[in-house]
């Protein structure tokens, strides 16, 4: 830095504005400055998510109403599906379970899906502006979360109509949703990075997401799963998360510690691994898109 201090002599405003760009092998940039730069861009993150969300339904007649209509119609589709397959309804409590689990699942799957497109689809943004690229998958997660919020209202109405209890155990939903969002963020960073190297990923992803949906306890209760298929259920990160959510909201009980711990472990492992994977590769993105 001595040469720099010399060159910048007499211009104090330069002191904090020294940039050096050097080649790198795969590796992490200094994390302190990286996260400071990320924090400095938080308003950018919010503005990006907000405007993107608004632009998506700019041309439709019903506009922002689609943020409510989409999840409601999806809930109706799957409820009908279950009704036909089981040739008979499972009652109104099941409808509440289905809506709750489906909306929470969508919080994660939308983040992962749009996260996968975030870096490769952010071409211009990446080629024209220098900023911590982690903003891009984080934007996907934030958008997904903003889409999730109106569904909370939809679910609340269903909850009241079917007469489920309202008590303090509902508050467990807040940390559980936070864990699911964290998990979704980590997974989105993974898919965002992977898509840069393997462009076929977004072609596979919708099928993968659908299988994931069908193998998660959404269209059925976790208790319905026969013993020989249980191992599959236990490998699914959605099981502890949706399971705890179901305990807290539908059954009105404190979720078992085992499920909560498993959810926590999944969320933390995914966000740490996803962040490190993304950041270690991100300086290469601009030359690869």
């Amino acid at each position: 830095m001595s040469a720099v201090a010399e060159a910048g002599r007499g211009r104090d405003d330069f002191s904090g504005e020294y940039h050096v760009y050097e080649p790198h092998r795969v590796g992490l940039p200094p994390l302190g400055p990286y996260f400071r730069a990320l924090w400095a861009r938080r308003q950018f993150l919010f503005e990006l998510a907000r405007t993107n969300l608004r632009a998506q339904h700019f041309n439709t007649t019903l506009g922002q109403l689609w943020l409510i209509l989409n999840p409601v119609m999806l809930g109706i589709v799957y409820f009908t599906l279950v009704y036909i397959i089981r040739s008979g309804g499972r009652g109104s409590i099941f409808l509440a379970h289905l809506m709750l689990s489906l909306f929470a699942f969508r919080l994660v799957s939308t983040a992962v899906g749009s996260g996968a497109r975030s870096v490769v689809g952010g071409g211009r943004l990446i080629l024209n502006t220098a900023f911590p690229r982690l903003i891009l998958p984080l934007d996907s997660v934030l958008e997904s979360f903003m889409r999730f919020l109106p569904t909370v209202g939809v679910y609340a109405i269903v909850h009241v109509i079917v007469g489920l209890p309202i008590g303090p155990s509902l508050l467990w939903a807040v940390p559980i949703i936070a864990l699911m969002t964290t998990f979704g963020a980590g997974a989105a960073m993974f898919t965002a990075t992977a898509q840069v190297y393997f462009r076929d990923l977004t072609n596979f992803l919708p099928y993968f997401t659908r299988i994931w949906l069908y193998t998660s306890p959404i269209l059925f209760y976790a208790e319905d799963v026969p013993d020989k298929l249980r191992p599959i259920l236990y490998c699914n990160p959605m099981y502890p998360m949706l399971g705890s959510l179901n305990y807290a909201v539908i059954e009105g009980r404190t979720p078992p510690a085992g499920l909560l711990l498993a959810s926590f472990a999944w969320a933390m492992a995914t966000i740490v691994a996803g962040t490190l994977f993304f950041i270690s590769r991100e300086r290469e993105f601009a030359i690869r898109i």
């Binding site: 720099v4 010399e6 060159a7 910048g8 002599r9 211009r11 405003d13 330069f14 504005e17 020294y18 940039h19 050096v20 760009y21 050097e22 080649p23 790198h24 730069a37 400095a40 861009r41 308003q43 950018f44 503005e47 990006l48 405007t51 993107n52 632009a55 998506q56 700019f58 211009r124 943004l125 990446i126 080629l127 024209n128 502006t129 220098a130 900023f131 462009r199 300086r283 290469e284 601009a286 030359i287 690869r288």
Partner: protein
């Protein structure tokens, strides 16, 4: 070919040392199913490397205006992106002192579905300004761009000239220490060109460091102290802007009065 080396003691704002930038793409010339299957069978990967910038070194002293000329694909835009910290060097080193504002070939660089206003706000925030700072500059930007009601229309409804006007207005309003400009002056109608040329002159006079990539040889000659001529990723010449332009013009077989002067 003259290689001008600034003395070590001279304070520089941008220092580029032995810079090389290589793009890697995985694109087949004619992608077919058969080729793909054969490739997967042999476990080969198609990677094509494009050496856009090769072993380039120069310094830009504080307050100087550096022009960059060269034919399409000579590596000018890549060089600019490397200085902006967008493309990582494959080899070598780039050092920059001060806040950088870029105006790169692709325009404001945001989303076409968003309005001009939203793009301006996003652009400012992405560059690291706060919301208040962006709001303060917004007036200045709209006033310079003269787009009127179009500021609240999605940018996909813009003509390319309007696009360029907005991009230029944003870049010059960011109050940068260093301004990196790529082909910006060639957009807009004659009146806007003249206006942006005047603005550039103003900025040059304010002792900011500017790197200007342009095919408009008049603007390079009039605005720049020195110039670099890039050819196939290397520096073919680095000298006073007049000398570089004469040599470049000879290379292109253009006479003084031809098209290059028109394009401001």
């Amino acid at each position: 070919m003259l290689e001008r080396q600034a003395p070590e003691t001279e304070p520089w704002t941008i220092r580029v040392q032995d810079l090389s930038v290589t793009y890697r793409t995985a694109i087949e010339k004619k992608p077919t199913l058969k080729k793909t299957l054969v490739r997967l069978g042999r476990r080969q990967r198609i990677i094509r490397e494009i050496q856009a910038v090769r072993d380039v070194s120069f310094q830009v002293p504080h307050g100087h205006v550096l022009g960059v000329v060269g034919v399409n694909g000579a590596g000018k835009s890549t060089l600019l992106r490397a200085m902006a910290g967008i493309l990582p060097p494959t080899e070598g080193k780039v050092e920059v002192l001060g806040r950088v504002s870029t105006l790169l070939a692709l325009g404001v660089g945001f989303k076409n579905d968003l309005t001009g206003r939203e793009n301006v706000v996003l652009g400012g925030l992405a560059a690291g300004l706060t919301r208040d700072e962006v709001a303060a500059k917004y007036e200045e930007i709209t006033e310079f761009a003269e787009l009127g009601d179009f500021m609240d229309m999605p940018m996909r409804t813009y003509s390319s000239g309007m696009y360029g006007r907005l991009a230029f207005s944003v870049a010059i309003s960011m109050d940068p220490d260093i301004l990196l400009i790529d082909e910006a002056l060639s957009t807009g109608d004659a009146r806007f060109k003249e206006k942006s040329f005047e603005k550039m002159r103003e900025l040059c006079a304010e002792a900011r460091t500017i790197v200007l990539v342009s095919h408009g040889l008049r603007s390079i000659r009039e605005l720049c102290d020195e110039a670099i001529w890039m050819h196939e990723g290397r520096i073919a010449m680095h000298d006073q802007s007049g000398a570089v332009i004469d040599a470049y013009r000879d290379f292109l077989h253009l006479s003084e009065s031809e098209a290059a002067n028109e394009d401001v």
